[in-house]
Amino acid sequence: MQELGKAESNSTRIIRQDDKRVIIEKDLDTEYMVLSMGPQHPSTHGVLRLECITDGEVVVEAEPYLGYLHRCFEKYCENVDYPGIVPYTDRMDYLAGMNSELAYCITVEKLLDIEIPRRVEFIRVIVSELNRIASHLVAIGTYGIDLGAFTPFLFCFRDREHIMNLLEWISGARMLYNYIWIGGLAYDVPADFKKRVAEFVTYFRPKAVELCKLLTENEIFVKRTYDIGIMPADVAINYGWSGPMLRGSGVKWDLRRNDPYSVYPELDFDVPVPDGKFSVVGDCLSRHLVRALEMEESLKIIEQCLDKMPEVQGFDSRALIPKKIRPKAGEVYGRAENPRGELGYYIVSDGKSTKPLRCKARSSCFVNLSAMKDLSKGQLIPDLVAIIGSIDIVLGEVDR
């Protein structure tokens, strides 16, 4: 902690009187204090450091400092060939590895211009939606912990364990899958996989309702998140927000609908957007609600995929994987809807090498976090914790 010294005599003092009213007192002799939150603070979800300039308990300005987990993703990509990058994309957003892989593989396939078997497409969608549920479960659970509710976290992790087991069963690893490959999949799914996923869907439906009762409807939780950290839709768009964050501000924008990829156009699902009945549009509670409702939509998608997935006898998921991946010279930008927003890859190929000339990742968390300064202005420190939690950052993706 460090003191900035006395502020000017005609400085203003912002005080939150109750939930809705903020009063500004002028001509008060106050001192600003710099408070460093993180990188070890448990509510910062990893190694994020927030430098808050506080006036009493009110945050005047909070600036995020990043880079504690920087691993030179772009430089790595210049030195490994195209299939070798896939495991690194897992490690970016480690809570939703399948979604990151899907985004990367879609991008390279766009560059190569190759066809993907229909069965592969359906398996890809199933695994990425399973992973989306797992990721949202972590987001909701840890958000509860941030606000002092420890129990929902344990319930979330109990259910997430089943998804981890399912994904380990098909890919061989629990979190860092390397399952979706360029042009195919590492393995075909086991024989009983469809049955087990269907069982999971029937198992999880009541548990999601239970979780809603436990956390989302809890009055203490609602009081902590209602009307906190409001982001208007236009400002959110200007910041480049995407995913549940943007939908929480009332913008119906989902890449699965607005820029469809894979087999999403054939599937029937809603894009949940808060209507302002239970929350103020754009506040922390809306963002939480979007995540909670999205899990139900993901379950719907999985059910439809299980019905539509073609059964192929003796299916070889690696049959169409190119032996040597050497795309034509050119550049491509591909994107997919991650649990946290738009994850995009920009790849430049020089046409000669089996390694990309450049591979840049557009991280959704990084962009969402950039609005921190705006969101935190005039908030109380406990509310700041609620705001960071609602952004749902994964530092592995922020720092890359």
Binding site: L166, W169, A173, Y187, D192
Partner: protein
């Protein structure tokens, strides 16, 4: 005023609902969920109860093709070094010695019936570096390099994470290297004696053809 009391009421009821769920779980805690693997048909029909396993006495079973510790069946390795080149983190180190013709029978064949032409005195895998991506496994032509389902292999000393799979001892490798060098020197000598006049015109002819072809 009525809002004040209704707030208290919703607060109390929602907390009571949450408590009821917790209490249900509390009474369930006398039962224990088993440790059935996901490939078990009754996986989702296990009793609802405590789901924590007492590690290391109990473990979550890993699926049979789980991608954990790397293993090399060195008897099947032909020393092609494709895994070494494919590894994104460079955790595999291989050294090979060409087999001399009289040693081919000793070197043997792979289980697929392919004649091995390389001794592999050094095949080291640094499992501390390995990120279990499975790319080496996918490029291996004889399927001798694969991840096993052994997930728990932590060590107190990081040097113990280095696994050695080479099929020759240091002394044996030195002998093979010496033998190969001798044989190569012999072959070169023979070539110099007999094949030198025949070999010389060939490089001369090549440059003459090339410009002609280009025009």
């Amino acid at each position: 005023m009525s809002e004040y009391f209704s707030n208290i009421k919703t607060g109390a009821t929602t907390i009571a609902t949450g408590m009821a769920i917790t209490l249900k779980h509390f009474f369930n805690a006398v039962k224990r969920k088993g440790d059935a693997g996901i490939d078990d048909a009754d996986y989702f029909r296990q009793v609802d109860g405590l789901c924590t396993l007492q590690y290391p006495k109990e473990v979550i079973p890993t699926p049979p093709h789980g991608r954990y510790r790397l293993y090399v069946n060195i008897d099947d390795c032909i020393g092609c070094r494709q895994c070494e080149r494919a590894c994104p983190v460079e955790c595999i180190a291989i050294e090979t010695i060409k087999t001399t013709n009289d040693d081919l029978a000793v070197c043997g064949k792979t289980s697929g019936g392919q004649q091995k032409r390389m001794w592999v005195p050094l095949f080291d895998i640094d499992t501390a570096k390995c990120m279990t991506c499975g790319i080496c496994q996918s490029v291996c032509p004889t399927d001798c390099l694969y991840h096993t389902a052994v997930a728990d292999f932590s060590e107190f000393d990081v040097r113990n994470m280095m696994y050695h799979f080479g099929n020759l001892s240091k002394i044996e490798a030195e002998a093979k290297r010496k033998k190969l060098a001798e044989q190569q020197a012999q072959a070169a000598k023979e070539k110099a004696a007999t094949g030198a006049p025949a070999a010389k015109p060939a490089p001369k002819a090549a440059p003459q053809q090339k410009p002609g072809g280009a025009e």
